[in-house]
């Protein structure tokens, strides 16, 4: 939620400043979140979900001058999406379910939960590796440390680091395959 806010806000402000690339990245990021938000709420009419998504994107685009940088951009997006969804239900002549007024994280946490799950899964698998392989992978692959720094840090040779990383990765792949199946 906080990450999404910082990232989207930066893109939004650059887009407002005239950076078309940032604006496109902003709309793309938002459309992913919106799709995940709208689909389950329009389960009975999935073809409407994409139309409504496009309506929200157009509203976000054409009304973007109503965004004030001193307020969270996620709340601004959520308010527009919520309004458009309610408006859609109203036009269809049904009241639909209740959508809370201030619940922007409804829109911005779903995808991040998945990312958090993935992180936890990787950690669980790493715990099953031998100590040396785990240390090497964490430093080289996750923290981005160089091979020579890792070698110095763990007091082993550079080739040992390379081999341990390689073996560890192979084992991880195999474990992941097992987990999938």
């Amino acid at each position: 939620m906080i990450e999404a806010e910082a990232e989207l806000k930066a893109l939004m402000l650059r887009g407002l400043g005239g950076d078309a690339g940032a604006h496109k990245a902003f709309l793309t990021a938002v459309s992913g979140k919106l799709r995940a938000f709208l689909r389950p709420r329009l389960r009975t009419a999935p073809e409407d979900a994409e139309d409504l998504l496009q309506e929200v994107l157009i509203a976000i685009h054409t009304r973007r001058d109503t965004y004030d940088a001193s307020y969270p951009v996620t709340a601004w997006i959520y308010a527009i999406a919520r309004y458009r969804l309610i408006d859609h239900w109203r036009r269809r002549g049904r009241r639909g379910e209740h959508i809370p007024v201030e619940d922007a994280h409804e829109l911005f946490t779903a995808a991040e939960d998945e990312a958090a799950d993935a992180k936890r899964d990787v950690k669980k698998l790493l715990d099953r590796l031998p100590q040396k392989q785990r240390d090497c992978i964490i430093r080289v692959k996750l923290e981005g440390m160089s091979v020579s720094d890792t070698a110095r840090c763990l007091a082993i040779t550079e080739s040992d680091v390379k081999i341990s990383t390689h073996r560890g990765m192979k084992t991880l792949m195999r474990l992941m395959g097992e987990a999938e199946a």
Partner: protein, 210 residues
Amino acid sequence: MKTDDLIEALARGSEAPKALVWPRLAFALIVGLLIAVGLVLTFFGMRPDIGAARMMVLMKAGFAALGAGVVLPLLLQLAKPGRGPGWRIAAIGGFALLCVGAVAVALMGGDPSTRFEAWTGGAFPWCIVLIPLLATPTAALLGWLVRDLAPTRLAMTGAALGAVSGGVGAMAYAMYCPTDSAAFVVTWYAVAIALCAVIGAVAGSRLLRW
């Protein structure tokens, strides 16, 4: 059209349009007031003793302007997507308390035998009908602005819009209003403005859709 193509087209699109909030707001408030004043002069006429009662008229108009001014921050806040009302509601609550206090003080200071009449004006308070009518031009002009700001909570936005318009309508009405008792003015002008807020909430939830 595929969503990716839409995003591509939007990103290539022109600059964001500027809503020009402040000039349009000033325009709505000033023109709305002028039209209401024109309506008062045309249909009711200015009160005959306007020369002697100038101070009273100004004070009543000032009170009405204060009522509009206290709600204006809430209207501007609600008019844009995703903003909570925050302290702006408290400002209105404070103003309402001030009104109650002022009425109480004014009535306590008066002669008990005429107290009730000072409060009710002794007749039907026409201002609660006329102020909403005089508020209509301002409400229409403000609605034209607010719809462009994409309000997402229409009833609340409409209520704030109605109250601001009611304050402007009451400013014009003060030129005609023959009653000068402070308790009367504070009570019935505030009731009229509150009534405008209720009408605004009902009308706004339909007319402010965008």
